[in-house]
């Protein structure tokens, strides 16, 4: 099933029908259930989903981090033309860092506490590009400057626990970008940061992405954050993309009831006497998925045919798709609260 894509350029990441299952004591967990998308160079794809939607697992599958007896990965993943599933462990390791890199939510957990920042950056450079120690150090200093960490020479000798949260996140970005990868995966990198730091990191990420022409996949649970960073948005629910499209189109005119629910239940721009239209119920447990639309139990527009079979992807526009049976035949009521969530008339921006 060819996914909606923005342009006709050759995609640097191409995923077809990705399925990931975990075998646990309580049964099989279907973390990812048929995800397909293309990512062209220079594009930022935002994956929006709540906990348990499978978004982090998708990223890890792209990096080839899901090998092992407990995970079964099916489907095709192509990164820079290479089929990630067919590579050996050594080849995948060579791919990571050089072609595809990742930054995580908790830098404190992913940075090695017993090595300095400088050592960790240089290690990546030396390993992938075979430079000398001296050249690697020079490149590390450049990188620190690029991620706006002041006082580079001193910071190179700092340990992760000596830095603040925002600094650590920048350091992690420096490590990830050290070999100028073509693809950057970001797994909720700003979720644990204060809001004033978050905006700095987002701006930095945008700047670097433009400079390097990287393709970025940015996973988050915050609509506002994905709004600030992504060109295209994929909304994920129960292991599937339920809606994909340009950011503008999805935010202003969402076609899937889940996306609509996310937007109406968002506090942004709402006033207290305007009741939040919350989505009832809870996300489903991924070990107990029933056939048909996974959102059906919580959907206010549900009909019998929604649970009968998996809803197909419906093309709203050439680059905008929604996985909803009712959207496909136009029987879904038009989304009316689009204006409430956008408030350019707020005028309450700084100053």
């Amino acid at each position: 099933m060819t996914p909606a894509s923005a342009t006709e350029a050759t995609p640097v990441v191409s995923v077809r029908d990705l399925r990931v299952r975990f075998a646990t004591r309580e049964g099989t967990v279907h973390a990812v259930n048929g995800v397909s998308f293309d990512l062209v160079p220079g594009e930022v794809l935002g994956i929006l989903g709540e906990s348990g939607s499978g978004k982090s697992v998708t990223l890890r599958a792209l990096m080839g981090l899901l090998s092992g007896s407990r995970a079964r990965v099916e489907g095709e993943i192509r990164v820079a033309g290479l089929d990630v599933g067919r590579l050996t462990e050594a080849e995948t390791a060579a791919l990571r860092g050089r072609t595809i890199a990742m930054i995580f939510q908790e830098p404190m957990l992913t940075l090695d506490p017993i090595y300095t920042i400088g050592e960790q950056i240089e290690e990546t450079i030396i390993r992938h590009e075979g430079l000398s120690w001296r050249a690697a150090r020079a490149r590390a200093l450049e990188l620190l400057e690029m991620v706006q960490i002041p006082d580079g020479p001193r910071r190179l000798k700092a340990y992760p626990h000596e830095m603040s949260g925002g600094m650590r996140q920048r350091a992690m970005m420096a490590i990830a970008l050290s070999c100028r990868p073509a693809v950057l995966l970001a797994d909720e990198p700003t979720t644990a940061l204060d809001v004033t730091v978050q905006i700095q990191i987002l701006l930095l990420l945008r700047k670097l992405q433009r400079e390097f022409g990287m393709a970025v996949i940015f996973v988050t649970h915050d609509v506002g954050v994905s709004d600030e960073i992504a060109d295209r948005l994929a909304v994920m629910y129960a292991g599937r993309f339920v809606e994909t499209g340009p950011m503008d189109a999805v935010i202003r005119a969402p076609r899937h009831p889940y996306t609509q629910g996310l937007l109406t239940s968002s506090v942004h721009g709402s006033f207290r006497d305007h009741r939040l239209e919350a989505i009832p119920g809870m996300p489903p447990a991924l070990s107990e998925l029933s056939p048909g639309c996974a959102f059906a139990p919580r959907c206010r527009h549900v009909e019998d045919r929604c649970v009968a079979a998996d809803p197909p992807e419906y093309r709203v526009a050439p680059d905008h798709a929604a996985r909803c049976v009712r959207a496909s035949d136009g029987s879904l009521p038009v989304f009316g609260t689009a204006t409430a969530t956008l408030s350019p008339a707020e005028g309450e921006r700084a100053g």
Binding site: D194, H268, L276, I279, S343, R349
Partner: protein, 342 residues
């Protein structure tokens, strides 16, 4: 401010010594909360915002007296807390309750939830049967059908359901004030919306007063009547929420609001108004604590700490900034006299 405040805080201070080295000497002091002063009016929702290290959680614990303050006074409905003539801790906690952030850790994993909710009244002398009955009623009030949920253990509930139990638990003692310390921060956005709706309903039904602490500006703005902005243990701005959002005056408040995502892809944020990370509360800057990140900082800001003063063109809106009060010595300060209020 016509009504008498329900909770009145003056000069509240808490410093934590940092011990280190071979002899465990005090190497520094974390000035978590410093000379804090504000009022909580009956029936309102006061939102408290700030980033990590601003002291909002410490403030909540000081109000509940889970930690003893180093200095300062808290009054509940005019009565002082502690001391011989004042309100005992037990009585205070019957009037003021708290909902914590971590919904799972807040519940005893070995007790069924109805027991967790009934424990409060039971501890205050209500007979066991009546306490359980009240617990069941409250579970229903928070949207958890007692027949289905009373006998469950915390690990059998979702995050949102657990937080509802925590809210029921706080209400079981029939308090007048509920402090919500990041109560929805750990929940998924769609679940948080349900809980927010519930909080609004409960406030009306039980005639409560809320102190809502959060780092999420959107949620605070949605829920609050007035908002109080904290930075490094100090209050920097207080005012009605619509007013503060429309006309933020303190540079930190402005930076905070500017950092919020716009939710409008066509008008993305292009610059951050403040750089760097929130500093360490150990040994904060002299004078105005925000001056190290403020683009308007001048010499007077390092010399003198700006007091919280009413803004010239508003009655209810106060801010602590030399730029905004007249005759402070700051180049941007307006001229003319103004009342100084705490």
């Amino acid at each position: 401010m016509t009504a008498a405040p329900l909770v009145s805080v003056r000069n509240l201070t808490k410093h934590f010594p940092v011990k280190g080295g071979v002899f465990r000497r005090t190497q520094g002091v974390v000035q978590a909360v410093d000379a804090l002063a504000f009022d909580l009016l009956p029936g309102e929702t006061l939102g408290v915002v700030g980033e990590s290290g601003c002291g909002k959680s410490t403030m909540a614990r000081l109000l509940m007296r889970l930690t003893e303050p180093d200095a300062g006074e808290v009054r509940f409905a005019g009565e002082a807390i502690g001391g011989r003539a004042g309100l005992s801790l037990r009585d205070l906690r019957r009037r003021m309750q708290m909902v914590f952030q971590d919904s799972y850790a807040s519940l005893n994993p070995r007790l069924p939830v109805v027991m967790s909710v009934a424990y409060g009244p039971f501890a205050h002398g209500v007979r066991r049967a009546k306490a359980l009955e009240r617990a069941a009623t409250l579970l229903e009030a928070v949207g958890l059908e007692p027949g289905l949920f009373a006998h469950r253990y915390p690990h059998q509930l979702s995050g949102g359901q657990r937080q509802r139990v925590n809210i029921a638990r706080a209400l079981a003692i029939e308090p007048r004030v509920v402090i919500l310390d990041e109560a929805v921060s750990a929940l998924d956005k769609s679940v948080a919306a349900q809980v927010l709706n519930l909080l609004v309903d409960l406030k009306e039904r039980f005639r409560l007063t809320y102190l809502f602490i959060s780092h999420d500006l959107g949620v605070v703005r949605y829920l609050s009547d007035r908002v109080l902005v904290m930075y490094l243990g100090k209050v920097v701005e207080v005012g009605p929420v619509a007013e503060v959002w429309a006309h933020p005056r303190h540079p930190y408040t402005r930076a905070l609001l500017a950092a919020m995502p716009t939710m409008d892809p066509s008008r993305r944020t292009t610059e951050a108004l403040v750089s760097g990370d929130p500093p360490n509360p150990i040994n904060p800057p002299s004078g105005c604590r925000f001056r190290t990140r403020c683009r308007f900082a001048e010499e007077v800001c390092a010399r003198r700490e700006p007091p919280l003063s009413t803004l010239p063109d508003a009655t209810d809106h106060t801010a602590a900034c030399h730029m905004l009060a007249p005759d402070t010595g700051h180049s941007l300060a307006p001229a003319g006299g103004a009342r100084e209020s705490r």
